[in-house]
Amino acid sequence: MISGRKRIGLIFALGFAVLLVGGAALLLTGDSTVVLAEDLSGVNGKEIMDRVDDNHFLASARMESEMIIRDRDRETTKEMISYMESDGEVTNALVEFVNPRDRGTKYLLLDDELWMHYPDAEELVRLSGHMLEQGMMGSDFSYQDALESERLTELYQFELEGEETLDNRPVYLIDAVAREGEEVAYYQRKFWVDAERFVVLREEMYARAGRVLKEMVTTEVEEIEEGRWFPVEMVMEDLLREDTETIYRVNEIELDYDIPENMLSVEALE
């Protein structure tokens, strides 16, 4: 059950959660205006993505969610509670795992730094370099995915490639290519954006050489405020690996959550 409040803001979810919901959609900032379906004939790709950004922006939130990692016949479920806040420029987030096996494991995102705390380890670990390419907690989400918290509209050039139907929903197909000189994890992305609800229903992420690396499909969307739709279940698939997928499901989200002071800090993580 999702309880939404007041205002729409930037959403980020440290790798999991909403962060990866369509990548772009989750990360962008914008004016907190509820977007309703309307006649958008003649719009371009950037305008559509701006609407998506606006639809997903969260100023602060608390979220209870779970991640189901499927690897051929094996299935692992990880439960987590996330806290996030953003001023539109800097995004900070904390994810704490609460399932018995991973209880106490925490990830902290402070703008472009990612910290990890294992309960058994004495020290905090800052994830950097090649570690960021690894799958987060064995999932199909990489740590690098979590770090891309800049506005996608600043990182990519969007082009509306056409209008299609996806699972009986009218969608815009938008092609995004990294802007010259911008450092992005995925050089190219394709978004299938619900033309009425402005939610990314499907996303493909490409390597620079053109090979598709990952695919994310939104399998459930909920209206958390009037006219504001939000993806609450999505499936991420690392297409380089066989027979694996990760389902991310938001069980509860509280918008405009009053995050305790210093909670999103390295000191608190220690």
Partner: protein, 414 residues
Amino acid sequence: MYLLRIAFRNLFRRWKRTLLIAGMLMLAVLVFLFMESFMMGIFDLSFNNIIDFETPHITVGRAEYFAEVEDDRERALEETFIPENDLLEEIRGLEGFTALTPVLDFSADFVAGRYDYPVLVRSVEPETFPEVFKNQDYLVAGEFVEPGDEGVVIGSQLARFFDLEAGDFYTLRFQDKQGSFNTLQGEVRGIVTVPHPEMNMNTVFVSREQAAAALGLEDESVSQLMIRMADRDQARERAQSLGGQLAGSGFEVRSYRDTSDFLTALEVFGYVEIYFILVLFLLVGSIGIISALVLAALERVEEIGMMKALGLKRSQIVRVFLVEAAGIGLLGGAAGVILGLIGVGFLTTLGINLDLIMDPEALGLPLAGRLYGSWNLSSFVVMFVFVVILAVVSSVIPAYWAASKNPVDAIHHR
């Protein structure tokens, strides 16, 4: 001569005791010589494996590149460079220079089937790589990469992990210079098993042309220049001199020992360990000598008194005891050296199967298979002399104690 005869005769009056103490000294010598040979074998082989398969005698790269690698950060693609002719000429002009090959190292995930595994990708120039490294001599399947090849050569352990054979499909996923994910894919061209276990799991080889393009780098970009010298003894000195010539250029020059500081530290620790064991053995031996001479003095109190009564000076009596102790040292040292020659001889010719006695990989040693000892003849001489001197030094106090006895009291001590 007379005193020598007395000392020699005394040596065998309590022959069991003499043999026991000499045996202790022999054991000290033998253990030290054997362990030293074993340790030298381990580190000789380890350094040779590093030189032949990982980092050769000398490596040249940007100082910042080495710093980033040491900090366990990403292999910084922005610290790659295109070698200028002046630099190459300077390297080729080094005394003892044998060969040079450029490499472009970067981190990636090796992906096949359901799994991925982080590896170091070494992009090589196939024409010059064999002049510096020996990896291609250890192919167990397929062939080594060719210029412009889209294939990859992997280690046997990695092949086993992914259940791959030559001809199977692979993907490498990595981030290019702009931080974007990119991939290389193709066939597994070959599989190698080198006597450096870590490399069999963690390192893969691709053609440099292919890698540079995929990383968004210029074709000639390299991360390091790898240099082979005529022998490894020259490496440190030449690395220092080349480092001096390149000072202020932003380049850093490292010898194989600089690039394997863990192994260097382990070597120091290893020697500390065997010297510690040696000290323990010698301490027991020296206590044995002291107690043997004290016992001898107690047993020969009357005899000492008689010798003094017959006019022998104190220094002559001391000399008898010192010679007796030296005799024990000579016996122990000689036996230790002879057995050491036999033991080390076996170790250097027959070797030991490392798998039976230790797990080199768990210790972080770049070793596998059979280990052969190394000869260090100077240690044989030094140990022999040292044991004799130790025996003599240990006997000084008991000898003076024995010689200081009053002849009258000594004769009538009962």
